[in-house]
């Protein structure tokens, strides 16, 4: 099975698994049990992991709050900042139409708490429209949330410029770096963002852990999503899953050490894939072709076949997707692609491929052949029932 859905989730790196493994064994202690050696040993490992996460994103260890993943980190950043500001603070929260669902839903939902969500459109290439952002910021704004790299198209936003504008307007800046972290250099301090959300399983770490970067100078204050034991300085109660944190830390250290090498190789594979497909499929388009994107993210618009039919036709050998995994089974067109001006029909012909650390050149060649072959078949014999049957089975 060829796995080319590395934007949905990535295989856990055996080295990250190896780092985590002892904590799934003799070192099982609760990291909050400061009273005995089992607990202290786990706590020590969690703190080492915290340093590794911090190092990857230009943060201090104390600025890292472990969460269950990026969804929780995004919820905590957005709702936490808004709720801390409270009734007396600014009301406006600005984000982009192409953000991950968990950011959009968190922002939209704050309307019920008397905040003012502003969802900005993007240009056809997926980039933020700076004129629109400036206009939005003319009203005092509490928070601007813009992702570093899009999870469907890989489009990289100019975060430095976004953060500069937002800071100048006195707003907090949050960025979802779930896709960008570990793939491209990211330095929270240098960019001047206040909050950043990261996920382990998108960077070859385990599922079930992520983190929120919370800037300390000047200190950013948040109201927790839920309370209890008061772990993570009261920002996130609940036992930290020490083994997952250790695996996450190791995944960050590996990403930091191997980023340059990985991205060069992945970029080569990407060019190989696209070259091979283009040679066989005239009229194949890349979405957001003219702007900077993540090396491993490929968003392809096929001329004569729907993405779901292609997925179904190649399902025995190839794992690819139409867009965000969370909404894989939805028939509704991708909100990211439609925000970039694609018609529902164009969006339905878009396939998302994610190339990862463990993807090989022969896999890329085979995937291209499978997709091109399936596209040829489908172009000649449209099969409206294939995808429906596949989905029903899924």
């Amino acid at each position: 099975m060829i796995y080319l859905d590395n934007l949905a989730t990535t295989p856990c790196d055996p080295r990250a698994m190896a780092a985590a493994e002892p904590f799934f064994g003799a070192m099982f202690g609760n990291p909050h049990s400061a009273e005995h050696a089992f607990g202290r040993r786990a706590a020590e490992a969690v703190e080492r992991a915290r340093s590794q996460v911090a190092s990857l994103i230009g943060a201090e260890p104390r600025e890292i709050v472990f969460t269950s993943g990026a969804t929780e980190a995004n919820n905590l950043a957005i709702k936490g900042a808004a709720r801390f500001a409270g009734a007396a603070g600014r009301r406006r929260i600005v984000t982009l139409a192409t953000e991950h669902k968990c950011v959009l839903e968190s922002v939209r939902d704050l309307a019920s708490e008397d905040f003012e969500p502003v969802i900005l459109p993007v240009a056809a290439n997926g980039l933020v429209d700076f004129a629109g952002l400036k206009a939005a910021l003319e009203t005092p704004t509490l928070l601007v949330s813009v992702m570093a790299a899009n999870n469907e198209t890989g489009v990289l936003q100019d975060l430095g410029a976004v953060a500069g504008l937002a800071r100048a307007a006195g707003a907090l800046v949050h960025t979802d770096i779930a896709q960008a972290a570990g793939k491209i250099p990211f330095d929270a301090a240098a960019l001047g963002v206040h909050l950043a959300s990261i996920s382990a399983h998108k960077i070859n770490g385990p599922k079930g852990i992520g983190a929120l970067y919370v800037r300390r100078r000047p200190r950013v204050r948040l109201t927790p999503l839920f309370s209890g034991g008061g772990q993570e300085r009261g920002l996130r109660s609940g036992t930290i899953p020490a083994p997952l944190a250790v695996g996450f830390g190791e995944a960050c250290a590996l990403a930091e050490a191997e980023m340059a090498e990985d991205s060069a190789r992945i970029l080569g594979l990407r060019q190989r894939l696209i070259g091979r497909l283009r040679a066989r499929i005239p009229g194949l388009m890349e979405n957001a072709e003219d702007v900077a994107r993540l090396p491993g993210a490929v968003s392809l618009r096929f001329p004569a076949a729907r993405a779901l039919d292609l997925i179904a036709a190649c399902a025995d050998e190839l794992c690819v997707s139409t867009g965000s995994a969370c909404t894989s089974a939805e028939i509704a067109p991708s909100h990211v692609l439609t925000a970039m001006g694609l018609t529902p029909a164009q969006a339905a012909r878009t396939l998302r491929l994610g190339i990862g650390r463990f993807t090989s050149a022969p896999e890329i060649d085979r995937a291209a052949d499978l997709l091109a072959g399936a596209h040829d078949d489908l172009a000649q014999r449209p099969a409206p029932d294939v995808a429906a049957a596949f989905l029903a089975e899924a």
């Binding site: 493994e21 609760n30 399983h201 839920f226 025995d316 909404t327």
Partner: protein, 378 residues
């Protein structure tokens, strides 16, 4: 001391059988069955929400785990909402059910429940000296707040005391109140079901049954009010909990639960330990029916933290209360609520893990007896 402990720790745990873990209520050692399941799931790539082969394999694993959890507590698989753990499960239930309802919670509830409930209009229900909820007080409170949300834990994390949940549920039902039960400490140690408890929902945690940290569940009874997501986005868990499910932790949770067949075999060991401690002048906090693995031992006049350090130096891990608050100076709200304020500073919690052995009890008894008998209270 700390450095020395850190430096020698690896040797002590891996080779020295005298390094003994008696703090299961903070976290249980991972069961071998869970370890296998975790490592297998870590080796799987798919996101359970993806429709391709890898995704469907992940989804099948997730749903298998859901069935195991559901059947253990007599629920439908669709009514199991996986969370990151017990704290999130409790917070999710209380956020959803407290809307427009007064919250009544027992004075000995875990901080996760107390913190969530304190964000709402609430009243605290007293417990009896034995540690069990005062049912007369509950009945009186329900008369004032018939539409309440009642939060009552099945087993207390510090004393192991079991609350009369079924009786409380009958009172709730008669008034039209909702009942949420934090069953984190009870799961896998004693058998119970949603129907038997009469609860509208229960919170569970994986790492308290010998699974890995990082997964828990909120399980809903038929007819429970709808749950609105605390973590939004992605629509996972039927829109009740956004985020990619932590598959390895969930798979490990289910495997541990399947292997956890009750803690009755620990009762004899616990009782022997307790009797030996009593002979040394200890008082047991919590006279009600208890979990088979837990005892809370007060040694009047001797500070709990001193006892814990002495035992730690003897290679025995116990705690002075909930792990979450281990680092804090605050006295146990549990013992205070039981009217044992004078003992609260001198009580340690000993909780036997699933793999406790008679030799561990012997070692504890020896170390406990070796502690200097009385000191002036600080």
């Amino acid at each position: 001391m700390f450095m020395w402990l850190c430096a020698t720790w690896g040797v002590m745990t891996s080779q020295n059988p005298s390094f003994i873990y008696l703090d299961a209520n903070a976290t249980e050692p991972l069961r071998p069955e869970a370890r296998v399941a975790v490592l297998e799931a870590l080796d799987m790539t798919g996101n359970p929400a993806s429709i391709h082969g890898a995704g469907r394999a992940a989804w099948a694993l997730l749903e298998r785990a859901r069935k195991i959890v559901a059947s253990r507590v007599g629920a439908k698989p669709a009514d199991v909402v996986f969370t990151s753990g017990g704290t999130e499960a409790n917070a999710l239930a209380i956020a959803a059910f407290a809307k427009g309802r007064h919250v009544l919670f027992g004075a000995t509830e875990h901080d996760a429940v107390r913190a969530a409930a304190m964000g709402c209009a609430h009243s605290v229900l007293p417990v009896l000296a034995c540690g069990q909820i005062d049912l007369a007080a509950l009945a009186a409170a329900l008369a004032r707040h018939p539409q309440a949300l009642v939060c009552l834990m099945l087993a207390n994390n510090e004393t192991g005391v079991l609350h009369p949940v079924a009786e409380a549920a009958a009172l709730c039902r008669a008034r039209g109140a909702l009942l949420h039960v934090d069953a984190v400490q009870a799961l896998g140690r004693i058998e119970f079901s949603l129907a038997g408890l009469g609860a509208n929902s229960i919170a569970l945690s994986g790492h308290k049954v010998g699974g890995p940290k990082g997964a828990g569940a909120l399980v809903l009874a038929a007819g429970a009010p709808p749950v609105t997501a605390l973590l939004q986005g992605g629509g996972q868990e039927q829109g009740r909990r956004g985020g990619t499910p932590p598959l390895p932790a969930i798979a490990g949770f289910a495997a541990a639960l399947a292997a956890a067949t009750g803690a009755d075999q620990l009762a004899g060991l616990r009782d022997r330990l307790e009797q030996a401690a009593i002979a040394e002048g200890a008082r047991v906090c919590g006279a009600g029916p208890r979990l088979p693995n837990t005892t809370c031992l007060a040694r009047p006049g001797q500070r709990a933290d001193t006892q814990v350090i002495r035992l730690d130096l003897a290679g025995i891990a116990v705690s002075a209360g909930a792990a979450c608050s281990s680092g804090k100076v605050a006295r146990s709200h549990v013992l205070e609520a039981m009217g044992l304020l004078e003992l609260a500073g001198s009580a340690i919690r000993v909780s036997l893990p699933w793999n406790a052995e008679p030799a561990h009890i012997d070692a504890f008894v020896q170390a406990y007896a070796a502690m200097p008998p009385r000191q002036a209270a600080a």
